[in-house]
């Protein structure tokens, strides 16, 4: 006699064993080492660190390997580890003006103090598959002495002339929020919104940013500056009375310069959209800055008409770990609820048929 399916521990254990086998693949092919992943799949590692909200290349590489290269799964692994770590405190704000720059471009000025620096970019490559990269023979890049010239942020240059709104001020009593410690409470302040965007899904933010360019909440953006490089992370130690350096992290910063007409009180000036992401993640930083600016609609008294301007919509759906969980949970058993629906639809159909029969008889 057939009896309802037993899920069972054996089935789960067997599935995990099969997964482990498929993850490793053909045993005659050497296993990947973590340093190989860190060195040769660097941008995937950066994305896992950025959306996983944990700066550790080796752990991110491990997560990628364990996830068989599935980025969202890797991000989930990193997050689930991060949440178990004790919280010592908060670092000082990083100073991106003092960045050791690897790439720095501005689309608003042809030349500027510190110069333009392309850095390791795909931008002007021809997207032709290149079988010659398979192997170890890659020429070393050309190096030259660093110039002593400072590279101030473009937004600061504009700000000095009063053309750019100042960096957002938080009131003296405002404590910077922490979305990993407090539940989100809409409407949000910009600090929490930026935190949510920084760990938000790249694809989702990309699509939203794109939508603003196509007229759904237009913001007239210019890339004031994108800079990628390493910054120092400093931590205030109360016992010492001064900040000590914890090390360097690589970040990507995008400052979007947007139009703003001004008002009776404020003279016309440009407004900003801001993006800051761990590692080299230019697409994400740009999309983030577009969405940040769009979400400031309320602050500037703009009409909220487009999805990208809708804070609750954007922030509630930007986290890919949450999104993938809820979408994928549909594959869990729902037969109790489905049974309830089946019962109802059968009853309704029976009534429908009875009514039709009665009508036909009359």
């Amino acid at each position: 006699m057939y009896v309802a399916v037993k899920g069972g521990e054996a089935a789960i254990a067997n599935a995990h064993a099969l997964l482990a086998d498929r993850r490793r693949g053909d045993r005659s092919v050497p296993a990947l080492r973590l340093d190989q992943v860190v060195e040769q799949l660097g941008l995937a590692v950066d994305r896992a660190m950025g959306e996983g909200s944990l700066y550790d290349k080796e752990l991110a590489a491990l997560a990628l390997l364990q996830a068989r290269g599935d980025l969202i799964e890797a991000i989930f692994l990193v997050r689930a580890y991060r949440t178990t770590l004790p919280r010592f405190g908060y670092s000082q704000p990083i100073d991106t003006a003092a960045m050791l720059i690897e790439r720095r471009i501005s689309a608003t000025f042809k030349d500027l103090p510190g110069g333009q620096m392309l850095g390791p970019t795909f931008d002007y490559t021809h997207r032709l598959l290149d079988p010659s990269i398979v192997g170890d023979d890659v020429a070393a890049p050309i190096t030259r002495e660093a110039e002593a010239e400072q590279a101030p942020r473009v937004t600061d240059l504009l700000g000095r002339q009063g053309l750019m709104e100042p960096d957002g001020e938080t009131g003296p009593d405002h404590e910077v929020g922490d979305l990993t410690r407090e539940p989100l409470d809409f409407p949000l302040n910009r600090d929490l919104r930026l935190q949510a965007l920084a760990r938000g899904d790249e694809g989702f933010l990309l699509a939203l940013g794109y939508s603003t360019q196509r007229g759904y909440g237009r913001t007239h953006p210019f890339v004031g500056e994108i800079r990628i490089g390493e910054v120092e992370v400093e931590f205030d130690v109360p016992e010492l009375g001064f900040a000590v350096s914890l090390g360097r992290v690589k970040v990507t910063e995008c400052q979007m310069v947007n139009q703003f007409k001004g008002s009776a009180k404020v003279p016309p000036q440009f407004t900003r959209g801001y993006g800051l992401v761990f590692g080299q993640a230019e697409r994400k930083a740009m999309a983030m800055s577009l969405v940040d600016r769009a979400l400031r609609a309320r602050e500037f008294g703009e009409d909220i008409v487009a999805p990208a301007q809708d804070e609750e919509f954007v922030i509630s759906h930007s986290d890919n770990v949450q999104a993938t969980g809820f979408v994928e949970h549909l594959k869990l058993p729902h037969y109790v609820d489905f049974q309830a629906e089946l019962d109802l639809i059968r009853r309704m159909r029976a009534e429908h048929d009875a009514a039709n029969l009665k009508e036909a008889a009359e």
Binding site: Y2, G7, G8, P183, G325, P333, Q339, M348
Partner: protein
């Protein structure tokens, strides 16, 4: 566990547990009110019961006996997985017997056997907001709860009657708790709603992805919304369980072949097993071998 990665008792660190316990206490103090809490990422995905797991992790002690069910069954894959998780990280005793458990974590069902004092039922909740599908914005629904403005819900139920001749909500059927808050009972079939009313057990609800905890304390009034001329009613099954012959229980339909053949069996597997052990036999059941 080795030194590379060691975890606290029941996985969560003590600060997090305290934060969640505070939310639980507040939830008990205001029955049916959704308390925001700072939900953590758990080692299982959102949607797999992270809210329930966090609630259980915060209240479980070494002496507790845990039962986990999904769709009423102890042997559903996710129930097996969550039970194994707590057996590993909290080394607690587990059981499939409803009466033996001090904590029962559940997804989509309430056990058939009435729960007793001292037992805690922890629900896994996907969407805690009963008004969500009428009003997608949290800022709005919070206001509606604060003002006790539940007219929209009654309009929805009324529209069901106008369109289908009856209230077409079969699961996650909204209830009013202690005459104040309208609450989502989680996606349990409405068959289970009456069990929540004046239950001797403490009922806790955890929604991890949505960052909400709510509660129904023991001996609390839980009323399913309805109209005088369309009173609330639960599902009735035409036939009893094919294995144990139980009536007045919730049944799963099992498809036997591609010619429409099917059978109904108890959704609550523990209840079914206990009945069969006690000698009850359904139309397709096998008499337990005498011991």
């Amino acid at each position: 566990m080795n030194a590379v990665a060691s975890y606290n008792f029941a996985y969560l660190d003590e600060q997090t547990k305290r934060m969640i316990r505070r939310a639980i206490l507040k939830a008990i103090a205001i029955p049916g009110y959704q308390v925001p809490f700072s939900s953590r990422e758990m080692p299982m995905p959102y949607g797999w019961g992270t809210g329930g797991v966090q609630v259980t992790a915060s209240i479980i002690g070494p002496d507790d006996v845990l039962k986990v069910i999904d769709q009423g069954a102890d042997d559903t894959t996710n129930a097996v997985s969550i039970r194994a998780f707590f057996a590993k990280v909290a080394q607690v005793a587990t059981t499939t017997h409803t009466a033996d458990a001090t904590i029962i974590q559940t997804r989509h069902r309430i056990p058939e056997k009435a729960l007793g004092e001292g037992q805690i039922l922890v629900y896994q909740v996907p969407i805690p907001e009963p008004l969500r599908f009428l009003e997608p914005r949290e800022t709005e629904t919070r206001k509606m709860h604060a003002l006790e403005e539940y007219g929209l819900m009654h309009v929805k139920l009324y529209e069901d009657i106008a369109r289908h001749g009856r209230i077409a909500t079969t699961y996650a059927y909204p209830v009013k708790v202690e005459g104040r808050y309208v609450m989502d009972p989680s996606p349990t079939p409405k068959f289970d709603n009456p069990k929540m009313h004046m239950s001797a057990a403490l009922q806790l609800f955890g929604a991890g992805r949505e960052h909400r905890i709510y509660a129904v304390p023991p001996w609390t009034e839980v009323v399913s919304l309805d109209f005088e001329d369309h009173p609330f009613e639960i599902q009735h099954f035409e036939e009893p369980c094919a294995l144990c012959g139980a009536e007045q229980v919730y049944l799963d339909e099992v498809i036997l072949n591609d010619r429409g053949g099917h059978m109904y069996v108890c959704s609550d597997t523990d209840n079914c097993e206990e009945r069969r052990e006690a000698g009850h036999v359904g139309s397709l059941g096998v008499k337990e071998a005498a011991e």
